[in-house]
Amino acid sequence: MTTVALKPATMAQALTRALRDAMTADPTVHVMGEDVGTLGGVFRVTDGLAKEFGEDRCTDTPLAEAGILGTAVGMAMYGLRPVVEMQFDAFAYPAFEQLISHVSRMRNRTRGAMPLPITVRVPYGGGIGGVEHHSDSSEAYYMATPGLHVVTPATVADAYGLLRASIASDDPVVFLEPKRLYWSKDTWNPDEPSPVEPIGRAVVRRPGSSATLITYGPSLPVCLEAAEAARTEGWDLEVVDLRSLVPFDDETVCASVRRTGRALVVHESGGYGGPGGEIAARVTERCFHHLEAPVLRVAGFDIPYPPPMLERHHLPGVDRILDAVGRLQWEAEN
């Protein structure tokens, strides 16, 4: 058996590979969006696809998000499997009409006769020094819309596996790509890409016994860093990467919390009405008798996303996470 040298790959490269493999495997997969063709997308995620598959399979559309998603609906109605790129989180908003009024509920409206296998790729989140409207964490809007799967990778391997699964799904998936992890690297063998991951399974990224950090997407590396730093304080933190906000993996999350007895949800999205509220409620409902402390949240502040020079004060960082861990009622133990 020959050993393959594992090369570092970025998350963006893994996403490109997932699109390419999906397009090769299934001729009905069509990529469309602003600048996705010749340019390869502003984050280069669709790099080379138009050249390899032709402009009909990877299409530079007119600059109109409602039009992009609306025509994708029609294409899906006719049997294609569109993968739509929204250029930035906040530029997906013009497409909300189509997303909420049609994409999310077509299966239901037609009693299952006409599901829409559309993947909507949305680069999301901050930490890249973007000017306004380029750094929103919009996951709560999508989570609040029944009928949409909401998936977000945090590692290079997951970027591949989850995007493949999302494209293969017969239900619409909002695939949230953490912008600031596009250039994160991991050893990854592009010739033997990671398996297609099922949607809806969380994973323990770091085992620990003192408390569980529940997180996803851009906040995973921050939580892992916090977990490392917490060792000096004597805390052994477990980190769970949700990977999918809809559906939600109660089983993995609750198993972890029952083991550790304490839980903290971490995300960039605003806390009020954010994903953490749902997660904390679910955990409390299911693990109440195992909890040593209320489930806490560390989230972005409830403000419009701040300008680049102030964003570091907004984003949950290691210190803020450790402060919150410190508030998980450790006194009771002594």
């Binding site: 600048d35 600059l63 530029f91 973007g130 306004e132 502040f301 680049p308 020079m309 102030l310």
Partner: protein, 378 residues
């Protein structure tokens, strides 16, 4: 009674007379972009206006170069340049009166500066210390709009409101060729025409929306033709001919001011630089196209006319350059100072009064910062 039963009595008649609701002919744009410079009409152009435009173009070009340099020094987060598009930017500002409103897109900081806004304030968004760096009402310049075309309905609403109040106000709204594909562009045009709002839409067709050329954006004969479908006049102008742009926009503004309703102006120009400093234009266009447009440069065009007519000499040209240099030096000096940042500003102006929840979060950040200062955090 069914038609069958009616047989004999029923006589098919043609539908009631139909005619177009407005005569489309006067709404149609010219066959070629309107030009003044390099034509006989140039001789009639007012020398004072030519000199004023020239000074502003030279200054605008220098502003673009300075802002681009500031991105390289890390003083601006990003800069979308209007190098090559200065004629449109400058004319859009100069045709407006004090009480009128400008609705710029994210690329149009130069138009705001040409209207008199402090360049440092205009660049706040792109420096990244706040979003809008000025009071829109004070300057009658709406916030620079990053979500494309979304500012256009605002312009229509504002102009409509001013008219309802009986105020003499015209709104001039700027958008790119790519932005004309957005639904908001179409809705804005329709509202403007139905309400006969005093609005002028200026589309700068600079050939590209990031990497996407106009050919992938529209199948229309021209963007100016889109006006006809909404029942307003469409005008096509050479966007690098500052005198022509100034004239066409002035007419449109006058028309709006006199109650004639909206106009759509398409200015044909070219984005000489990449989309922003973060973009690599070699991925989607060749040098020869850029060179062809460099040869049709707005400053060179106007300078040629001024020298031909003896309206400017070397000293005059030098004076314009010196003034531009002084502006750039001042801008540099201001931008080289770190802006004063107060993290507590995060919680200001989210609401008129912060909610109890925001007050809690404000206190949390204040405590964190205090701890940071005392060094209790590593």
């Amino acid at each position: 009674m069914t038609v069958m039963e009616q047989r004999g009595a029923y006589r098919p008649t043609p539908p009631p007379a139909w005619q177009p609701r407005t005569d489309p002919a006067p709404l149609l744009p010219d066959a070629v972009p309107y030009r003044v410079l390099g034509t006989e009409a140039a001789a009639q152009a007012d020398p004072g206006l030519l000199r004023r435009l020239y000074a502003q173009l030279v200054s605008g070009r220098r502003y673009n170069a300075q802002a681009t340099a500031l991105t390289k020094q890390g003083r601006l987060a990003v800069y979308p340049s209007t190098t090559g598009q200065e004629a449109c930017e400058v004319a859009a500002a100069l045709v407006l009166q004090e009480q009128d409103w400008l609705f710029p897109s994210y690329r149009d900081t130069l138009a705001a500066v040409a209207r008199g806004l402090d360049p440092v304030q205009a660049l706040t968004l792109l420096r990244g210390d706040w979003h809008t760096g000025y009071d829109p009402r004070e300057h009658r310049i709406a916030p620079l709009s990053t979500p494309l075309a979304t500012q256009l309905p605002h312009a229509v609403g504002l102009a409509h409101a001013a008219r309802l109040k009986g105020d003499d106000v015209v709104a001039l709204a700027m958008v790119g060729d790519g932005g004309t594909s957005e639904g908001d562009f179409h809705e804005a045009l329709n509202f403007a025409a139905v309400w006969q709002a005093p609005v002028v839409f200026l589309v700068q067709n600079n050939g590209f929306a990031i990497s996407v050329p106009l050919a992938k954006q529209t199948a229309a004969p021209s963007l100016a033709h889109k006006a006809v479908g909404y029942g307003m006049p469409g005008r096509l102008v050479d966007g690098n001919d500052a005198v022509a742009v100034h004239e066409v926009l002035s007419e449109a503004v006058r028309h709006a001011r006199e109650g004639g309703g909206p106009t759509l102006v398409e200015a044909i120009t070219y984005r000489i630089e990449a989309h922003t400093n973060a973009d690599d234009a070699t991925r989607y266009r060749g040098d020869s196209e850029v060179e062809a447009w460099r040869a049709h440069d707005p400053i060179a065009l106007l300078e040629h006319e001024l020298t031909e007519r003896g309206l400017i000499d070397e000293a005059g040209i030098q004076a314009a350059r010196d003034a531009a240099e002084a502006m750039a030096a001042e801008l540099r000096a201001h931008m080289n100072q770190d802006p004063v940042l107060d993290p507590m500003d995060l919680f200001a102006d989210v609401y008129a009064e912060p909610t109890p929840q925001l007050r809690e979060q404000r206190d949390q950040l204040a405590a964190e910062l205090a701890a940071e200062r005392e060094g209790t955090h590593s």
